[in-house]
């Protein structure tokens, strides 16, 4: 076995045998799915509790049809009891609240004279729905008084859904745009998490070798560069394995959980897409939600996305983890790393922020384009842009820049690493690091 392979193997084994790694690998997905399910369960429970709302309509404008029961709100007409009696009943009984509609001559005055009495402050969604009901009713009344035919207004409603097609013939819709945003954000976010978790793990591994002083023995057998590279690759392999296990476990647990608890995970995941978009798309295609989503996903440039994902993922990870390795080599213990961590973390976080802020609104806007070319943010921002289609020359420039920077950074990091691993005692400054770069051999 070559020395590099030996190092990768050792780093990998040391990492995956670590108790906390094993715990993280198997507990995280359970916790993640468990928390998700819990939140969903509580939300459902919360919604399931039916709210009893009573109303007193002294205006005589509203009918039973205006207050139709829904799944979560039931209405009762207490007009005959009068205002005071109704208030008493609500205060003593198990009612959510009382809507008091007074008698007023003018609709404008009435619109602002309606009151809602409740024991606790009512939820926003309930108030919104009540206000919508009242506004609709009063507007119709007003339209009637102008002599406008309501039926004609209803009949005149038209919905437009613009088909978006680019010149390479790819069609898209709002739904698929939503999916693209989702896929891009997840990919970019995953990369950032991966870099942070396994980059710091590389750093810790370097510090451990330094503090245990074994590093001098190792570098008397292998080149420091090999050791650094072995560490980076070994940790990444362990990380990929962990991600893979997480993916599989989350899939299994979700499937099991949804069959046991009857929680519709598709519903959970698509809850964010607006119901209207879904409904429109569903009608257009005439199929159910799941089929529709799968069909839309298949229309994304999956192979291209996958290849680019791998490239930017590896490129970004290698770029950052070599910097983490250099930081680990420069210091004696983890508390000293902070001053060097900020310049590494900053572009990572910036990448995610820029991605969230600009790519979502305008994936081909100048800021998104700029940051998808700067090598320190390009892995994240470009991954977010890729689902929207990025021209090949932009990709070529961005990838070349990343590659060149990556090679340069590994070379630079290796120089700092090589000197740093044998330096003990003094906490180095940036000017020390600069001096180390100039040392020969």
């Amino acid at each position: 076995m070559s020395k590099l392979k030996l190092i990768i193997h050792r780093e990998f084994i040391a990492k995956v045998r670590n108790k906390s790694f094993i715990m993280m690998t198997f507990l995280s997905p359970i916790l993640l799915v468990g928390m998700g399910a819990l939140v969903f369960f509580l939300m459902k429970k919360n919604d399931e509790k039916v709210k009893e709302i009573v109303y007193v309509d002294n205006s005589g404008l509203f009918t039973k049809d205006d207050f139709k029961d829904t799944k979560t709100i039931h209405y009762q007409d207490f007009t005959v009891l009068g205002i005071e009696e109704t208030k008493n009943k609500v205060e003593e009984g198990d009612y959510y609240g009382a809507l008091i509609i007074p008698k007023q001559d003018s609709l404008e005055v009435l619109a602002n004279a309606i009151e809602f009495y409740s024991k606790d402050s009512p939820g926003m969604s309930v108030m919104n729905s009540l206000e919508t009901k009242i506004e609709r009713k009063l507007r119709n009344k007003k339209l009637n008084s102008f002599g406008i035919d309501l039926e004609k207004i209803n009949a005149s409603k038209i919905q437009s859904d613009i088909k978006m097609i680019n010149f390479s013939g790819e069609e898209s819709s709002k739904l698929i745009n939503g999916l693209k945003i989702g896929v891009g954000l997840i990919a970019g976010y995953m990369l950032m998490m991966f870099v942070m978790i396994y980059g710091t793990s590389v750093m810790r591994s370097v510090i451990e070798e330094k503090t245990s002083r074994i590093v001098e023995i190792i570098v008397s057998s292998v080149k420091p560069f090999q050791l650094m590279l072995g560490k980076i690759i070994g940790n990444a392999s362990a990380g990929l394995l962990q991600f893979l296990i997480w993916g599989i476990l989350i899939f299994i647990i979700t499937t099991v959980a949804s069959s046991i608890f009857g929680i519709d995970m598709v519903e959970m995941q698509t809850a964010k897409l607006s119901a209207e978009q879904l409904e429109a798309a569903k009608q257009a295609a005439g199929m159910d939600k799941m089929q529709l989503i799968i069909q839309e996903i298949l229309r994304l440039p999956i192979l291209k996305m996958f290849v680019l994902f791998i490239f930017y993922f590896l490129g970004g990870y290698m770029l950052y983890s070599s910097m983490f390795a250099a930081v680990g080599a420069a210091v004696d213990n983890e508390t000293d790393t902070q001053q060097f961590m900020l310049p590494i973390m900053l572009p990572l976080i910036l990448g995610v922020y820029v991605g969230f802020a600009t790519v979502m609104n305008d994936p081909h806007g100048s800021i998104a384009v700029l940051f998808s070319h700067i090598p320190f943010t390009s892995p994240i921002v470009m991954l977010m842009r890729v689902p929207f289609g990025v021209s090949w020359y932009e990709l070529a420039i961005s990838m070349t820049l990343l590659l060149v920077t990556f090679v340069f950074m590994v070379w630079l990091a290796a120089k700092i690493y090589r000197v740093g691993i044998l330096m003990y005692g003094k906490k180095p400054t940036y000017s020390d690091l600069y001096k180390w770069l100039k040392y020969k051999g």
Binding site: E208, I214, S220, V222, K440
Partner: protein, 309 residues
Amino acid sequence: MKNLLEINNVVKNYGDFRALNDVSIHIPKGSVYGLLGPNGAGKTSLIRIINQITMADSGSIILDGETLSPKHTADIGYLPEERGLYKSMKVGEQALYLAQLKGLSKAEAKKRLKYWFDKFDISAWWGKKIEELSKGMAQKVQFIVTVLHEPKLLIFDEPFSGFDPINAQLIAQEILQLRDKGATIIFSTHRMESVEEMCDEIALIDKSNKILDGKLNDIKRQFRTHTFQVGLNTLNPKEVEASLKQNFDVLPADFKLLGNELTLNVKLGKTNSANELLSFLTSRGEVQHFVELIPNANDIFIQAINKNN
């Protein structure tokens, strides 16, 4: 005797600091070579260059007739002063890993490890983690992984630190046995009594320069002061001392004998010999003690460093 390692005019700078200034050292095959010097003299820099952990700025290093290159890492075994092993790794796995990094196959490494573990009676530790062992136990493991690949050149930096006297003796014997089997040994230490005991040749480095090298006995001869420790039973010690002073340099004694003899350190002048001193003494009383003061490594070390300053 042919040289295993030839270090020629090596210069090493760290920024503005010169760690090694034109250092040349030739180490004969099959010898135990002492690399001595105060802290910060440049010993570790030189050792790291031999191990190719760092490179010399200029100068050449020839190992067994070939210019030193990365393939030679398998020919060198190195025990650094600052010992270290992976704390949470098991002893056996760790030893196998380090042996494989030195180019041994897994099977061969296992076979040799079994031999050494049996020899040191530590086979029971194979599955234990380093953090479970005492410092001395970990040192034994460290010694084994240093010598396991049977390198031509072994470099020990303070090999006895951390060992109790019994284990230090054991390690010293192992080192001499390795030399007898043909290995060449570079031995860096501050413990001068072990230099006396083990080294055939030494080099002394101070302030980045080599200030002294050669066979230990030659150097001792060079540093000889022709001073004798004298013990004499005499009735009139004052008179003896006074007349000695006429012909010799007489210094107060810095040693003790069993009786109440007159004890002195007597330095021969340029003109007189040891025999003249001895016959003078025998004419004045009964000679109890007559030994030449041979400078030990410690004296040489201190003298040479002081002179260099």
